[in-house]
């Protein structure tokens, strides 16, 4: 029904897609996998009209179509659920679901009753019972917003539905609802393109799997293909699991007692020196808020913290840094980097309050980390915007290592970087523990937590569900805990 013929696309001389030819059939769930940066999103943006291919064509029902923009894609029945939120917090659910084409009356004015009714039907279909069409979206939880995003796509009655990592913020229950809806759509002859890196989901939901690697289609296989084989197609080699030994010691570095703050309550745990404590949970479970609280960026309401047995009250990040705590944020572009500034300036940016600004010193510091972390950059004076995601992440890491932290909190340290850089960052983190540093690793990627962490704490709706030692933790157990199931 929908066919892509020899699609190629480059950005600034870098080939993102190369001669991709793919066919999507109606009544079929077609999974698309690949590492970050493999070209999945670019491909989806081409189908949904956000980008135009350099060469090649998109065919619908055997006829070539040129999709000029999102509206045109919708008019020929293509709807997409974006990974990044496309909702507006200040508006109601109903308005968010019908942003461009709300139901109109005979006078071409918005038919508020029909808008309300249509929305209520969709909410019912998605089994969202506690919320109403006129609820303001800003008041919803991350998971509910994820469901509204799906409702928005369903409202278009699509013939082709693209879902880009739809379960990233959903709980167990909502994921089940979503899957039953997808199966229902499949029966109604909708073509479904399902992008995910969760192999377990693909195995139970999809009919076919296509794998992209570095913009090249590696092949399309039935979804019954063993997971290991699909992963091998994705990364081009098999992942070496459990190559890391524990460096954890008996010495308690950080102790948290009954800590309550914005988005979490009654959290108690310890981090030992030399230990990596994993922190798992869905988006919106309070992980990031907890991490930022320890770093002093978000105030807490009650509870106590101790560093090496001494009471610790971080009131602002400056004080946390002085206590040798560092925090690597999850969004390096908005919270970690000064994207237009040079490598050296970025690394030196945590020393602005203590040292004099001295270009030479900064560059020497940068050179030291460039070789230590093997950052690939033309030089310390290059603006970081010109570097790849993996190298940018290493620069944020270098910035925080330069304050010589005893406790390093890393939030999604490998988000959006390629497999090579990922492995390097794993080694850097593990080497730090060998020197006795403690690490709290917040991550949505369960495999990486299982690979690196000595213990894994799981949060759900602001509560600490459990802390599992590495030996007891499995992906299934962690996923269940993250959905509130003990």
């Amino acid at each position: 029904m929908l066919a892509l013929k020899n699609i190629s696309k480059s950005f600034g001389g870098i080939k993102v897609l190369e001669q991709v030819t793919l066919t999507f059939k109606r009544g079929e769930v077609h999974a698309l996998c690949g590492e970050n940066g493999a070209g999945k999103s670019t491909l989806m943006n081409i189908i949904s009209g956000n980008l135009k291919p350099d060469t090649g064509s998109v065919e619908l029902h055997g006829k070539p179509v040129i999709i000029e923009d999102v509206l045109e894609a919708e008019s020929i029945g293509i709807a997409i659920v974006y990974q990044e939120r496309s909702l507006v917090d200040s508006l109601t659910i109903a308005e968010n679901i019908f942003p461009v084409n709300p139901p109109l009356n005979a006078w071409k004015l918005i038919d508020h009753k029909a808008l309300h009714r249509n929305t209520a039907l969709l909410l019912e279909k998605l089994q969202l019972k506690d919320i109403r069409p006129d609820t303001i979206v800003g008041k919803l939880s991350a998971a509910q917003k994820g469901m509204i995003e799906i409702a928005k796509a369903l409202a278009k009655n699509p013939a082709v539905l693209i879902l880009d990592e739809p379960t990233a913020s959903l709980t167990h229950e909502e994921t089940k609802v979503l899957f039953s809806i997808i199966r229902q759509l499949r029966q109604n002859n909708v073509a479904i393109i399902y992008i995910s890196h969760r192999m377990a989901e693909i195995a139970i939901l999809a009919d076919k799997v296509s794998v992209l690697k570095d913009g090249v289609l590696q092949g399309t296989v039935p979804a019954t293909t063993p997971v290991e084989k699909v992963v091998q197609m994705m990364v081009g080699r098999t992942l070496a699991a459990s190559a890391f030994n524990s460096n954890a010691t008996e010495q308690v570095l950080l102790r948290i007692e009954q800590l309550s703050g914005s988005g979490f309550r009654d959290i108690s745990f310890t981090v030992h020196s030399g230990e990596i404590l994993g922190l798992a949970g869905l988006t919106g479970s309070g992980r990031t808020s907890l991490a930022k609280t320890i770093f002093g960026d978000v105030p807490y309401h009650s509870g106590q913290m101790f560093i090496n047995g001494m009471p610790f009250h971080p009131q602002n990040p400056g004080r946390a840094i002085a206590s040798h705590i560092a925090y690597l944020p999850d969004d390096r572009k908005t919270e970690g980097l000064f994207i237009e500034k040079s490598v050296a300036d970025n690394i030196a940016s945590v020393h602005l309050d203590t040292a004099k600004y001295h270009k030479k010193t900064n560059e020497q510091l940068a050179l030291q980390y460039i070789s230590q972390l093997s950052i690939r950059t033309p030089g310390p004076g290059t603006p970081v915007r010109k570097l790849s995601g993996g190298n940018q992440q290493k620069i944020v890491l270098a910035k925080w290592l330069s304050v010589s932290p005893e406790l390093l909190i890393v939030n999604e340290p490998t988000h959006g970087i390629d497999i090579g850089a990922k492995t390097e960052i794993y080694h850097i983190l593990k080497n730090l523990t060998a020197k006795g540093k403690g690490i709290i690793m917040v991550s949505s990627e369960l495999p990486e937590l299982l690979l690196l962490a000595d213990r894994i704490a799981v949060m759900y709706q602001g509560l600490l569900m459990d802390i599992l030692p590495k030996q007891e933790a499995t992906e299934e157990k962690l996923a269940a805990l993250a959905s509130g199931i003990r």
Partner: protein, 315 residues
């Protein structure tokens, strides 16, 4: 709507404050405040600002603002006056020319901001100076002696209220109705709320932005024609400082600088509140100098209280 939500809804809090002020004033100055004359004068004073504020509200919902509106007010009146006085142009044609000029200014603003990517603050700041210059060239020391037909527009009365008040009411009703019931205006809430999301939802953000500036400049043009007709003169200094007054009114009325929030009625309530404060100060014989001080304090208080409530609610 729940009671808690009511207290964060500016239409409700501002409307309540206005009502309270009116009651208090009626008790203190029964023979001066609660008169038809005072009411009609109050409405006349705020009508011109309100018309401009409606356009500014649309822009601020979309997350932008326009500093050139005060200059456009002077320009539109000056353009019409110039054509009528020096070239004996029919007053209808003169008005159309004044409005056409305003539309063009709005289009240039919008096009340069949306298509070329100039920051709205810089673009409209520059335009404010440019248009003020043109207004000076057109009306010089001021133009008077307008034809009767032009004077009637702003100086006649209907049911005891001056015509500018009626125009304001018509514009308010139209815009409030359309802002609620047409997807065209609803799109501005998306653009202001999350521009990227708006684009991904298929909204033509650039086109909509150009339209917003055209709407704002057109309303400023209408206000300019009305003002010159009411005064019986086109002055190059008309509308000086109006942009700040109007932005203050719109923010008091519930708009946010980052966009996504605001209702058309908020523009009216904001302007009404400011006119009311002015009226109270005059009646209480307080020096006019205090007006700006008090308005500044009120603006900070209104926005500050909002932030405090928001922080409380997040906990």
């Amino acid at each position: 709507m729940k009671l808690k939500d009511r207290f964060t809804d500016r239409i409700f809090t501002l409307g309540g404050s206005i009502l309270l002020l009116c009651i208090v004033m009626t008790v203190i100055f029964p023979d001066k405040f609660a008169t038809i004359d005072n009411f009609s004068q109050l409405m006349l004073n705020l009508s011109i600002d309100t018309i401009v504020a409606v356009g500014m509200m649309v822009l601020m919902i979309a997350g932008m603002f326009d500093l050139s509106v005060g200059s456009v007010v002077a320009f539109a009146g000056g353009m019409a006056g110039y054509l009528m006085y020096y070239h004996d142009v029919n007053f209808v044609v003169a008005i159309i020319a004044g409005l056409a000029g305003s539309v063009l200014i709005g289009f240039v603003n919008g096009w340069l901001i949306a298509r070329v990517g100039i920051n709205p603050m810089i673009q409209t700041l520059a335009m404010m100076g440019i248009i003020r210059g043109f207004a000076l060239m057109l009306s010089g020391a001021g133009i008077q002696n307008f034809p009767y037909g032009y004077i009637v527009i702003g100086q006649s009365k209907l049911l005891g209220l001056q015509m500018p008040v009626w125009y304001m009411i018509i514009i308010l009703l139209l815009f409030a109705y359309f802002a609620k019931n047409t997807s065209f205006f609803r799109r501005y809430y998306f653009i202001g709320g999350n521009e990227k999301a708006a684009r991904l939802s298929g909204i033509h953000v650039e086109k909509m932005k150009v339209w917003a500036f055209v709407i704002s400049a057109t309303l400023a043009g209408i206000a300019g024609i009305l003002l010159s007709s009411r005064l019986g003169a086109a002055l190059s200094t008309s509308g000086r400082g109006m942009e700040m007054r109007v932005i203050t009114a719109v923010i008091l009325g519930g708009a946010s600088l980052s966009g996504g929030y605001g209702k058309i009625w908020g523009a009216f309530l904001g302007a009404l509140f400011m006119a009311l404060i002015n009226n109270i100060l005059i009646l209480s014989r307080v020096s006019g100098y205090w007006q700006e001080v008090i308005l500044g304090v009120i603006l900070i208080a209104a926005v500050g209280i909002d932030q405090l409530i928001l922080k409380k609610m997040e906990k």
